[in-house]
Point group: C2
Chain length 125, copies 2
DNA sequence: TTGGATGCAAAATGTTTGCACCCGA
DNA sequence: TCGGGTGCAAACATTTTGCATCCAA
């Protein structure tokens, strides 16, 4: 299935690309370092950077900013979170901005929300 | 007024801090390089980085990711945009996620939305 | 006056590029 | 087979750090 997915997008399937795709897919949100480590440090940095760039250009993954830069697969089914800056937990929020994008005329390719706050418990501390 | 604002937050007011604050405030969204240039390259990089870090920790500014990393003043009154990946224009969207954050119990400190798409005109090209 | 802020220089990190070799279609 | 992909090394860019000096309170 990944074979067809890549073919659709006219992207040659290599071991490295498949591995990185799977790493991001299986881990929801990963940093560059996460990817590096999960490859057992066997893939060259420049290759990783080039593949990330390729995936971003083809809208296969999203790039988001939290404390660090994170990558995640760009799926239709997805979730948004609010992050506690103190204890670093995250909680699901039940809103998606694209549901409200009426009459902008845009074709939405990707989106992200970043909300930082202090959770209930941490406010009491 | 900036004097009092900094005093409230227990931050010593220096020429450099005031300058960077004003640069970000007057320009809505700026990159590190923008700040550097608008200081006429007269401020040291390490000073700029340290001030940005200080402002972030104190929730004076937000850090967001578009093509590059942008800083903006963290205000109550604010706007969200959708960006066209082809012509790079941006359009205002009329939704703010914090209006919908019911019963999470979080105290929201900052937030951002990033939506990328293709605008009406570019879809026709 | 004095502790924290800045500038400078250097180190450490992170990212990009050119090129020879490799491998998937 | 062959053109694009990868690994390697080097260049380049970004960010952090230690320390002497400076300046706002």
């Amino acid at each position: 299935m990944i074979k067809e997915y890549f073919k659709e997008k006219n992207i040659k399937l290599t071991k490295q690309r498949e591995l990185i795709f799977n790493i991001i897919d299986e881990n929801e949100e990963v940093t560059f370092k996460d990817i590096k480590e999960k490859c057992n440090n066997e893939m060259d940095n420049s290759t990783i950077y080039r593949i990330i760039e390729l995936f971003l250009k083809n809208n296969i993954i999203n790039k988001t900013l939290n404390e660090d830069i994170y990558y995640s697969i760009n799926k239709n089914e997805h979730k948004h979170y609010i992050y506690c800056v103190k204890c670093h937990k995250k909680d699901l929020i039940n809103i998606c901005p694209i549901d409200y994008l009426n009459n902008t005329g845009y074709k939405v390719l990707s989106h992200q929300i970043q909300i930082n706050g202090i959770c209930n418990e941490c406010q009491k501390k």
